[in-house]
Each structure stands twice: as structure tokens, then as C-alpha cells.
């Protein structure tokens, strides 16, 4: 189910939380929303999930307008808000049943859906507890379970893995990926590694506007045009190796990592590759390579480059 956001703007007083954002998300895509605090991620998600009405602009989910058919849109959506609010006085099963009923799951299916969600989200051991007694990680699972209880076409998850331990994070990421094959998923996160690991497409927003939109590969290409390689050369004196490397025509900069181990970080000149030249140099001098690793541009760097002023 496609999500179309057209010129979405939301103002609070004189402050523009979201400023003229447009994007089109296709079925089966997992979109990662990245941005510093207060960039407008949550506001955009709240607008798509029909909690707040946009000041101007259009949002369509599966062809239904958020403005004209909010009830229809709401029934297509599963939403996990930022702070994962839950009724702490309700039991896990009671709560999931209540949500299933509100989401218009047919009566005869309520029980099986609740059981399925408990299994999928790993709540089996805790299902008879009151939500207030659960640890943060388990509450997060209940939050995910309530978002998916009616098998929604679109999932909107605002920071879904906060409070989970590393194993749970991996589990939840796998779960999101699995869902993302058939459904449309939007998730937001500060954790760049998470977005990198789970999302097909990344949208970076800053101060209410989109600053980057694309897959991880396209974004990393955009961020740096020159490659960086980590090299280790043995069999020669440090000074000679260092000098020889510096004189190579494709290399822009040599950064010494360790003089004892003869390791360097080498930055090539824009749009040039140095691996072959380094290899040839070693052959010529009868040195040998102990390491040769291209250093990838991390999403951190892209993020930093695009959002820092």
C-alpha cells in the first residue's frame, strides 16, 4: 500500500515543525526516518497516523486521504508512538483483545490474532502479567504487538527498538524486515546502525525539511567522492614505505596509523582508485601487504555532514 505525502507542512505557533515535505513510499519498502532531535520526524509520523491534522498539504495512504477518510486510513495503519504509551493497569492479553476489538478484527479471529501476536513478539512467558509489571523491553514488545494486531498494511514505528537488549534488537529488526517484504513500513530512529541494517530507503530530515532521500548506497556515494583505504605494508623500513606511498600519483593524503606496524589510512584523489598502484609498489620493492581494507563511509558521516550547520 503506497503512502503519498504531498507538501506536508505543520506549524506550531510561529515555528514550522515540518516544512513542505513530499515523498512517495511504495508497498514493500521500509523507510528509515533519520534526523536530529526536533527535526520533525515524530510530527510527520503523527500526521500520517491521523493523530494531528497537517496545517497544509495532502497525505494519502493506499489511495485514501487522511483528511477525508481518517477512519479508513486508521484501520489500515499500525502505529507505535514514540514513548510507547500503554494502559499500565491492564493485563497483556486483555489489552491486546481490547485493541483487536477496536481495530475491528472479526470476533472469531480475535483470540487467534492475540495468540499469534504473543508468539511473534515473544511475550509467551509474560502474557499473564499486568502491563505495569513488565520491564521496558517487554513493554516495547507489547507496543509492537498492539501495532500489528490487525495485520495492518502499513506500519509506523517511532523508535521501535528503544529499551531492548542487543538480542531483542536483532530479533525485532528481523521481524520488521520480514514484515517489510509485503507491507509498507516507516520507522524512525536516532540509531544510525539500525536504519542502515533494516531500511531499503533512508530519509534524512533536518529542521523540518528533507535533506537526503535514497538508499544507503546512493547516500554514501553522495557524501564522499574519494575513497579511503586502510593499508598495512611489511617487509620494508617505515620511512621508505611512507615516502613511496606519498609519491604515488593517485594518492591525495597518507595518514600514519601506527609506525611500528607500518599501517596507514590512505585517501585517494577524487574519483581515483589506489589499490592497484599500492599493490604494484609493493611488488616492485618486494614488500608485502598485511592489510588492505576499504573504509566505507558510515551513515554517521553522511548524517553529520547533512545535518550539522
Amino acid at each position: 500500500m503506497d503512502i503519498i505525502v504531498k507538501n506536508l507542512t505543520k506549524t506550531y505557533g510561529s515555528q514550522k515543525a515540518v516544512d513542505n515535505i513530499s515523498f512517495h513510499l511504495k508497498q514493500g519498502e521500509i523507510l528509515g526516518f533519520l534526523g536530529p532531535n526536533g527535526a520533525g520526524k515524530t510530527t510527520t509520523m503523527k500526521a500520517i497516523s491521523c493523530f494531528i491534522a497537517p496545517t497544509s498539504g495532502e497525505i494519502e495512504v493506499g489511495g485514501y486521504s487522511v483528511k477525508e477518510n481518517p477512519d479508513k486510513v486508521k484501520s489500515l495503519l499500525g502505529y507505535l508512538p514514540e514513548s510507547n504509551p500503554l494502559y499500565t493497569d491492564m493485563g497483556v492479553i486483555d489489552y491486546l483483545k481490547y485493541v483487536a476489538e477496536l481495530q475491528k478484527v472479526p470476533k472469531e479471529k480475535v483470540k487467534s490474532r492475540v495468540a499469534e501476536m504473543i508468539a511473534v513478539c515473544g511475550l509467551e512467558a509474560e502474557k499473564h502479567k499486568i502491563i505495569g509489571e513488565l520491564s521496558k523491553g517487554y513493554r516495547q514488545r507489547v507496543g509492537l504487538a498492539q501495532a500489528m494486531i490487525h495485520d495492518p498494511e502499513v506500519l509506523i514505528l517511532d523508535e521501535p527498538t528503544t529499551g531492548l537488549d542487543p538480542n531483542q534488537i536483532i530479533e525485532i529488526r528481523e521481524l520488521i524486515k520480514r514484515i517489510g517484504r509485503e507491507k509498507t513500513v516507516i520507522l524512525s530512529s536516532h540509531i544510525l546502525a539500525e536504519v542502515e541494517a533494516t531500511c531499503d530507503r533512508i530519509l534524512i530530515i533536518n529542521k523540518g525539511s528533507i535533506v537526503a532521500d535514497g538508499s544507503y548506497e546512493t547516500l554514501s556515494k553522495k557524501a564522499t567522492s574519494s575513497e579511503i583505504i586502510h593499508v598495512g605494508i611489511e617487509g620494508g623500513e617505515f620511512d621508505t614505505v611512507y615516502q613511496a606511498l606519498k609519491e604515488l600519483p593517485t594518492i591525495a593524503m597518507v595518514d600514519v596509523k601506527s609506525a611500528e606496524e607500518n599501517t596507514f589510512d590512505i585517501q585517494s584523489k577524487p574519483d581515483m582508485v589506489s589499490a592497484k598502484a599500492i599493490f604494484d609498489l609493493c611488488v616492485e620493492n618486494k614488500w608485502y601487504l598485511s592489510q588492505l581494507t576499504p573504509i566505507e563511509t558510515k551513515l554517521e558521516d553522511i548524517f553529520h555532514e547533512l545535518t550539522a550547520n
Binding site: 505543520k10 506549524t11 506550531y12 505557533g13 503523527k46 497516523s49 491521523c50 493523530f51 494531528i52 491534522a53 496545517t55 481518517p70 477512519d71 479508513k72 486508521k74 484501520s75 495503519l77 502505529y79 508512538p81 514513548s83 504509551p85 500503554l86 494502559y87 499500565t88 493497569d89 491492564m90 486483555d94 481490547y98 485493541v99 476489538e101 477496536l102 481495530q103 475491528k104 498492539q146
Partner: protein, 241 residues
């Protein structure tokens, strides 16, 4: 309608789970029973087979109990943020408001139902005016519904339950007492005006056994006003403040 009922059911469940419902009922039955049967101007003192004393006591006890029941309804959802989840379900704001309203009305109705033995007992002692009893109960339900709608409104404008409680008492006391007093002391057009606003007048006239359309309109207006104002408060999240 189904959605309203689902919400009402959950709220009702929550009243019972948190023991508020039991405490409220025991206290209500305790107070009203004590004053109806044992103390002061009780049934035996008056020497008439009537529930007038009971209605008078219930009129005051409910006035204090209802704010305690309604204060949680929206304030707690506002505080914990669950309101966001609730309003992103396929329900309209209006359904949420009426669902919560209905849950509390049902709870009060249950509490009043438990006092039916009073009626049966008194009816066995002497000749009771059956009509006045029925309209008396109707009056209590209408009065409760009016205060519930005010209570829901005050609960929706804050995320602090105590503030909601006090505000309901504060607004309620005008209808409950002050308007009546003002009507007495002022007279003239202002007197008529306050006389009309006084909930006590309308309640008394119904409890005496007369169902006047003016009284019904009065209660219906307060209920509608409270619920519409609550819906407007919920809709404020959409405004570009």
C-alpha cells in the same frame, strides 16, 4: 455504536479492576443507608413512606463521588500519552468521548440499582408514591449525567487528576448550590435567570414526581455542552497554536 460500547466496556472494567467502583459503591450505599435509615431526618423520624430523604442524601453524595470517578478518564490518558494510541484507532473523537461518558453513567446506574432494596423495604412499611420514586431515580440519573459530562470536560483539559477533580467540584457547586442561593437573594430578572440555572430546582421538581420538558431540556443541555466541549478540547491538538 459498537466502537462506543468497546470503549465504555474497557473503562467500566478499569473502574472495577482498580477497585474504584467497589469503594465508590460501598461508600455510597454506606452514606445513603446511614442517613436514610439511622440518623437525623431518617424514614422513621419523618414517619412517611417516602424516599425523599434518600434522594436528598444521594443528591449530595453523588455530587462528591462523580468528580472522583471522572477525573481519571482523560487526565490519565493525557499524562501517559495513551490518548495518542486511542485516537489513532479507527474511532472518532466523538465516539471516545461518548464511550467514556457512557461507562460512568452505567457505573452510577449500577450503584443506584443497588439501592432498590430501600424502595422495596419502604414500600412494605406503608403507602409509597411509586411515581415519585421512579422520577426521583430519573432525577438522580440526569443529575449524575450532567456532572459526569462536566467532569469529563475538566478531565480533558488537564493531565492532572486532582486539578480535574477540584475543577469539577468548583463548576458543579455553582449549579448545585450557589445559583439557588443567588436566585433567592436577588429576585427580579436575575433571580429568574439564576433560578433556571440552579440544578437543585430542576432536580427537586423532577423528584417531586413532575416531569417537565423544561427540566429535561435543562439537563440535556448541560450534558450536550459538556460532551461537545470535551470533543472540542480533543480537536485542539490539530490546531496550529
Amino acid at each position: 455504536m459498537r466502537q462506543i460500547w468497546i470503549i465504555a466496556k474497557r473503562e467500566l472494567q478499569s473502574f472495577f479492576d482498580s477497585l474504584i467502583a467497589y469503594i465508590m459503591m460501598i461508600a455510597f450505599l454506606g452514606f445513603s443507608g446511614f442517613f436514610t435509615w439511622l440518623y437525623g431526618g431518617d424514614v422513621f423520624f419523618v414517619g412517611q413512606a417516602s424516599l425523599q430523604t434518600f434522594f436528598e442524601v444521594a443528591y449530595w453524595t453523588l455530587f462528591f463521588f462523580i468528580p472522583a470517578l471522572t477525573m481519571r478518564l482523560f487526565a490519565e490518558e493525557n499524562r501517559s500519552g495513551t490518548i495518542e494510541l486511542l485516537l489513532t484507532r479507527p474511532v472518532s473523537d466523538w465516539q471516545v468521548v461518548t464511550g467514556k461518558f457512557l461507562s460512568t453513567v452505567i457505573l452510577i446506574a449500577i450503584a443506584l440499582l443497588l439501592t432498590v432494596p430501600y424502595y422495596i423495604t419502604v414500600a412494605n412499611i406503608g403507602n409509597i408514591d411509586h411515581g415519585a420514586v421512579i422520577t426521583g431515580y430519573l432525577g438522580l440519573i440526569l443529575m449524575s449525567a450532567a456532572y459526569i459530562s462536566i467532569g469529563i470536560y475538566t478531565s480533558s483539559i488537564t493531565n492532572n487528576q486532582i486539578v480535574a477533580f477540584l475543577l469539577t467540584i468548583f463548576i458543579g457547586i455553582f449549579f448545585h448550590l450557589i445559583c439557588g442561593i443567588l436566585a433567592h437573594s436577588m429576585g427580579g430578572t436575575m433571580g429568574t435567570f439564576f433560578n433556571y440555572l440552579s440544578l437543585q430546582n430542576h432536580f427537586n421538581s423532577i423528584a417531586r414526581g413532575v416531569i417537565d420538558s423544561r427540566d429535561i431540556i435543562y439537563f440535556a443541555s448541560i450534558i450536550t455542552l459538556g460532551l461537545v466541549a470535551t470533543e472540542a478540547t480533543l480537536a485542539r491538538r490539530n490546531a496550529s497554536k
